[in-house]
């Protein structure tokens, strides 16, 4: 897949050509991504088989260490990996974790976590939990109605590209009247 800069560049070039020819041109540049798209093929294959390959920028390195240290009992499942694969994924997650990332959302995530706390799942990060409070409420009456927050793309349909700003869900007026 072409990256965004390249794509935007191409659109601009086409528009410049169109403008020279006296034609009208509308440019819609894509909104910036929240995180870089997850591209590590080992991580995508091994972790993305059961759930979305979550961007490592969503948790601090200490949380990822905890997750990777308990894969034999991974949220009720066995997700054991052989040693080289385990090491490769651990390194990838630690290198790209929220505490080393320089983007607005990772900074907000880190700011919301107590210094001594180590959230053991993404939905336990106070910033993220807060943003999703309505969806997590048992009285949530919108659609879709996810059982857990594990499947980001249900609402964040561009999450696979690292874009969490774009979202799509419905809440009826009825839901607000209750």
């Amino acid at each position: 897949m072409k990256n965004k800069a390249e794509r935007n560049g191409r659109v601009l070039a086409q528009c410049a050509a169109a403008a020279l020819a006296g034609a009208l041109c509308t440019v819609v540049l894509a909104a910036p991504r929240t995180f870089p798209a997850v591209s590590d093929s080992v991580y995508v294959k091994e972790c993305g088989g059961c759930h979305m390959a979550f961007p490592p920028q969503l948790l601090p390195a200490r949380s990822w260490r905890g997750v990777m240290g308990s894969l034999d009992a991974h949220f009720g499942d066995s997700a054991q990996l052989d040693t080289p694969t385990h090491r490769a994924i651990s390194d990838y997650l630690a290198t790209n974790a929220a505490d080393g990332a320089n983007n607005a959302e990772s900074i907000a995530i880190m700011a919301s976590i107590d210094g001594g706390a180590t959230p053991d799942r993404i939905s336990k990060v106070p910033y993220i939990e807060g943003l999703h409070a309505a969806v997590l409420d048992p009285r949530w009456n919108g659609t879709p109605r996810p059982k857990t927050l594990a499947e980001c793309p249900v609402c964040h349909y561009r999450a696979g590209l690292g874009d969490f700003f774009e979202r799509r869900f419905k809440v009826s007026d009825e839901a607000f009247r209750k």
Partner: protein, 118 residues
């Protein structure tokens, strides 16, 4: 792909045979695939077909996360059963979740043979 699949499945059936299993049966594999087990702690019922459905040509759904699981049947998903390490990894993980233990070589061989024919 069909060559890689035949080689991978033959390799594993041979291995399971060396571990004491014999006379692999796709029928037994089909029954095993839909046999209910009970999770010791929660008491919740589990079986292979809970996520994969009983029609292996269909897309399944992960019981916990809801993520789509590509069909197991090689006739509609030719990537299936082509990598020995992948097969063993998933059998180990999924047997532990479903049965609360690893599957026996006989159980694995029967299921493998059943999936291969779908």
């Amino acid at each position: 792909m069909p060559g890689a699949r035949a080689a991978a499945v033959d390799d594993l059936l041979k291995r399971y045979g060396e571990q004491g299993a014999a006379n692999f049966s796709a029928d037994a594999g089909e029954q095993f695939f839909d046999r209910p087990f009970v999770e010791a702690k929660s008491g919740e019922p589990r079986k292979c077909s809970l996520c994969h459905t009983t029609d292996l040509k269909r897309t399944g759904k992960h019981a916990t996360t809801g993520k789509a699981i590509e069909p197991l049947a090689p006739s509609v998903n030719p990537k299936r059963l082509t990598d020995v390490r992948d097969i063993e990894k998933w059998l180990t993980r999924n047997c532990k979740w479903t049965l609360g233990r690893e599957c026996t070589p006989q159980e694995k061989g029967d299921v493998l043979l059943m999936i291969k024919g779908r």
